[in-house]
Symmetry: C2
Subunit: 206 residues, 2 copies
């Protein structure tokens, strides 16, 4: 976006961002039309392109906005006291589940972004997700207690596996066409966490 957009009054920014997020959550990148976004935001298309160089940059802006929204939601203070890997997982999971339960559109949009394959935005989005993962690792997990792990198991690997499970599960649910049921997801999560702990932790820490 240009300078100009961030100078707008909060509520007008919000109004445009909401419209864009809405349309981008409902439709494919290609099918999500800027006409539609402008109309829902109650502004002309010309103005939309006055704020944003093109559709792609609007898309990426929405993605960045979503990211910062999720990050802002996590209370960074509480996690300082957590040194157990699985406690940390629980903490992160709970915070996010809470957020998604309160504002389901966030999850809906996040999933769209996560599964985008359109070549015009896929690779910049990829980079963002990789960054987010790295940052998450650094902030949350880099100084957890490795002593509890079996020597042959890398904590990062265990985290990745949990991500895969969630990823695959959500994808499957999306394919079923069902609304994402947060309670069911939490139940599954608890199962996976226990399985992973059994696999990753030494006997005495189970």
């Amino acid at each position: 976006m240009a300078q100009t957009f961030s100078d707008l009054p909060q509520d007008k920014q919000q109004q445009i961002l909401d419209a864009a997020a809405e349309v981008f959550a409902e439709e494919d990148y290609k099918r999500a039309s800027t006409d539609d976004i402008a109309a829902r935001a109650g502004i002309s298309k010309g103005l939309l392109f006055y704020y944003f160089k093109n559709k792609q940059s609007l898309y990426l802006y929405v993605a960045d906005h979503l990211r910062s929204l999720v990050e802002r939601h996590l209370e960074k203070e509480r996690l300082a006291g957590i040194s157990d890997f699985f406690d940390m997982l629980d903490y992160g999971a709970e915070e996010k589940f809470q957020l998604f339960r309160r504002q389901p559109w966030i999850l809906k949009l996040a999933l769209r972004l996560y599964y985008v394959t359109d070549k015009e935005v896929a690779s910049p989005l990829r980079r963002r997700f990789m960054e987010m993962m790295e940052e998450m690792w650094d902030v949350y997990f880099s100084h957890i207690d490795r002593e509890k792990f079996r020597p042959e198991v890398e904590p990062r690997q265990a985290l990745d596996q949990l991500i895969y499970l969630i990823d695959g599960y959500l994808h499957q649910q999306m394919m079923r066409g069902a609304k994402i049921d947060m309670d069911a997801l939490m139940a599954e999560y608890a199962l996976w966490r226990d399985m992973l702990r059994q696999y990753a932790y030494k006997e005495e820490y189970q």
Copy 2:
């Protein structure tokens, strides 16, 4: 497709199917153009629409073709003798890895189809995947030895979890933009299988 397409000589069918598969593997549903497909197949667009009612039905035809191709590849005789859940997993995995290693485009196309979000084709594709999963379950796993499982673990659940892991892993790899490394995937697979066995099987069958 119409009657007419299946009456075509094999090599011409192949030529068109190959072109379509190629384009559909490279691009989004929306971006994959019928002009392009016709050109690559060496026929006119008019003829393409003479064979197929519309782009959607061509897409689904390609999907069905891929499915039958994969199914035909599995040797159904050998699996009759397998009653151990994890042996069966190994068997299925090996067969598919082999296929994908020999013809990487199959995996590439399959992934595109698997992650399609375009509303014009997403839901029919979904249905196909669900069917495939059910069929796979019936053929491969419905009569495996449940005795070895801990009573609280459902075999189907364990299978689903493995699927989630593979799904998530492949998606992550795609996001990295890397070509899918089949050897790395097999190594990961072996890990997951062992983890799952540890979790799902009674002590004495580990």
